[in-house]
């Protein structure tokens, strides 16, 4: 997994609550059997004016000038600022894949949907939950004429801008370590293979009906 220690970059404000996974990456792109190729279709329905299909040459599609992703100020942004319940909807991991491949390394929001939150960590995308007030301040700063440069530091668990903004965030220690070190979670769990085997044997004995198969 891609390591994450700290990220300094431009902030793109996406001023909507309940942004769902169908908006992050529409279903027609889920037909792929690969992990890559989703970046050009991030927020496809909002970003382009014409409907998109897999296999199109996306460079020739009409861009929606009113969508924030196409705003010249935010080109090259690496931090996505969002509102409540970001990533609600399906379990598709294509959502964090698309966000990462587009170039974001961090999503900041007052709250996230559980599965999206979880999926982000598995891919080196850091979801940061900040208090509503702090998010509000960031929206004001990021929407100004000059784009906001922010540093998100996972080691110190802080978010800071030269404009005087600073905040700290909470993160689960296991996830933090995995991100900081770019650990392979499966490899880690397999270190506990003996414990899994022992549990399985006892489980099979106490509830043998869970091991029937037609």
């Amino acid at each position: 997994m891609q390591q994450f220690i700290r990220e300094t970059g431009c902030v793109m404000p996406l001023d909507r609550a309940n942004v769902d996974t169908d908006q992050i990456i529409p279903k027609q792109y889920l037909k792929s059997i690969h992990r890559t190729g989703f970046g050009v279709n991030l927020f496809d329905d909002w970003r382009y004016l014409d409907p998109g299909e897999p296999g199109m040459d996306h460079s020739t599609r009409r861009l929606n000038p009113d969508f924030v992703l196409n705003d010249a100020r935010y080109q090259g942004a690496t931090i996505l600022l969002a509102r409540d319940n970001f990533g609600c909807g399906s379990s598709r991991e294509h959502a964090p894949w698309a966000i990462l491949e587009y170039g974001f390394r961090v999503v900041i929001a007052p709250s996230f949907a559980d599965i999206f939150f979880n999926n982000s960590f598995k891919n080196g995308l850091l979801p940061v939950t900040l208090e509503a007030d702090a998010v509000e301040q960031l929206f004001a700063l990021a929407s100004a004429e000059n784009p906001l440069q922010l540093t998100v530091d996972l080691e110190t668990q802080t978010v800071a801008a030269s404009e005087g903004f600073s905040a700290s965030f909470e993160i689960d220690p296991f996830r933090r370590t995995c991100l900081l070190e770019g650990l392979d979670e499966i490899g880690l769990s397999l270190k506990e293979a003996d414990a899994i085997r022992a549990f399985e044997a006892q489980h099979r004995q106490s509830q043998p009906w869970l091991f029937t198969h037609s």
Partner: protein, 471 residues
């Protein structure tokens, strides 16, 4: 010490190791697989030279991409080469690794959340995962069932465990009895309307009370299915005799003495009377009316006699903005009555409402009537090949066909429009599915979430009506 909730019991009985940092490894009894969220997991497994930990814990089916016509022809029936490759990839992965799969044209194939319970592959007391958020459905059996991402699918394949953190306990009690003609779908939509799409975030929601206990197993599945639309990865209903009866005799279920032993154990799968919940919500089930969603997320819902909200009456600027945006997308006017919304298409199907009881209920409403001329298309997509066969044995297909509905082969179909079944821009659809997000059923399409009986009545009337007046 206070008692344990059902969720606590399921968690405790699957805990392999509790790590110091608060995370835990929990053992997974069943993994369900489908074509969309598994290819990258199998690829990861193969690249790392790993094998599945326990083959017989897995069961695979194809559902999201499959066409709903001419399935008997197998993968050749899939016109879109990208979709076809994804289905073929699941076939070859299951063959290569030795995983049991219901391929296209196998009558046991269908929507993953329909076939699990139908086969008895979903059992009370299990932990169940699937790379699909509606895995919450299986919680209707007193099983701990979550949707997971593709990395986790790979993790479960490789280790038979999931790295998890305990959720909080929430209980939603629906007092009863439910009113005449009010269905499980109305109950869950009313719950989401009350607690919101993030109301259950971080929680396992147990649904309880007379309004839930009175539902059939299929109704309980409909309720748990949409726990995720309330923000909760897990929905649960305690085990009772209905649960045990439903499981009995199904292909994957235990038999004989083993079944009796299992049933005794399953009867303990209820929250203790003195269990404490972190959050409690109560709804008066007697007041729930048939529901219709008007907006672009499932909390934007109201009773059939209600109106679309008027943004000028909303003070909170964020909420007002969200309502304005939703109304614009939906092509509706603030204050408009729900029964004035005219429909272009009607879709009866999806893992929320495509089981045999759903089809029976809908057929009863349309029997002897005709789909309105103004409705371009009304379709019924059974949840599995076996549901389809059962419905045909009961003559339901003929009732639908005579009324002007299309009768299709099983799959996810217009629930997410990954296959050819979809809405055109601006079209309004009465849909028995679970998500009314922008573009969900086709770019620019406008989804109204309703129960099967409400969808059936809307097809006939051409606009929403209170189906209770037709029953």
């Amino acid at each position: 010490m206070s008692g344990r909730t059902l969720y606590d019991k399921l968690w405790d009985s699957h805990l392999v190791t509790q790590r110091d940092d608060g995370s835990a490894l929990i053992y997974i009894d069943r993994q369900l697989l489908h074509e969309v969220t598994s290819p990258q997991a199998f690829e990861g497994l193969a690249l790392a030279g790993r094998r599945p930990w326990r083959l017989d814990a897995n069961l695979a089916t194809v559902d999201h991409n499959v066409p709903t016509e001419n399935q008997a022809a197998g993968v050749e029936a899939i016109a879109d080469p990208v979709s076809r490759l994804q289905v073929q990839t699941l076939d070859s992965n299951c063959d290569a690794f030795g995983i049991t799969q219901f391929k296209m044209a196998d009558p046991r194939a269908g929507i993953v959340h329909v076939i699990g319970p139908e086969q008895g592959a979903t059992l009370p007391g299990m932990t169940i995962v699937c790379g699909d958020s509606h895995t919450a459905t299986h919680g209707a059996f007193g099983a701990l069932a979550h949707g997971i991402g593709t990395s986790e699918v790979e993790h479960v394949l490789a280790t038979q465990c999931l790295v998890a953190k305990k959720m909080r306990n929430m209980r939603v009690t629906v007092s009863g009895p439910l009113g005449f003609g009010v269905t499980a779908k109305d109950v869950i939509l009313a719950i989401i309307g009350q607690i919101g799409t993030a109301g259950g975030t971080g929680c396992a929601i147990e649904f309880a009370g007379e309004g839930i206990a009175s539902l059939s197993m299929e109704g309980r599945m409909t309720v748990c299915n949409m726990a995720i639309e309330a923000g909760a990865r897990v929905g649960l209903v305690g085990v009772d005799e209905k649960t045990i009866e439903y499981v009995k005799g199904r292909p994957f279920a235990p038999t004989g003495d083993l079944f009796d032993a299992a049933a005794d154990s399953w009867r303990t799968l209820v929250s203790d009377a003195d269990a404490r919940f972190d959050h409690e919500v109560t709804l008066d089930g007697t007041l729930i009316e048939p529901q219709v969603s008007w907006g672009t997320n499932p909390e934007m819902v109201t009773g059939v006699h209600g109106q679309v909200p008027d943004p000028t009456q909303i003070d909170d600027p964020l909420k007002r903005g969200a309502v304005e945006r939703a109304l614009k997308y939906m092509g509706l006017t603030g204050g408009q009555s729900i029964d004035s919304i005219r429909l272009d298409r009607v879709f009866i199907g999806s893992c929320t409402n495509s089981r045999i009881e759903d089809l029976r209920d809908a057929a009863q409403v349309v029997d002897g009537k005709r789909v309105a001329d103004s409705v371009k298309q009304a379709m019924v997509v059974p949840g599995s090949g076996l549901v389809k066969a059962q419905a045909e044995a009961e003559g339901l297909d003929q009732i639908f066909l005579e009324a002007g509905f299309e009768w299709r082969d099983p799959g996810c179909s217009m629930c997410l429009a990954m296959n050819a079944d979809r809405l055109g821009p601006g079209e309004h659809c009465a849909s028995t599915s679970n998500r009314n997000f922008e573009g969900r059923q086709g770019t620019g399409g406008r989804t109204h979430l309703v129960s099967p009986t409400m969808a059936a009545a809307a097809a006939v009337a051409g606009h929403f009506v209170d189906v209770r007046e037709w029953l």
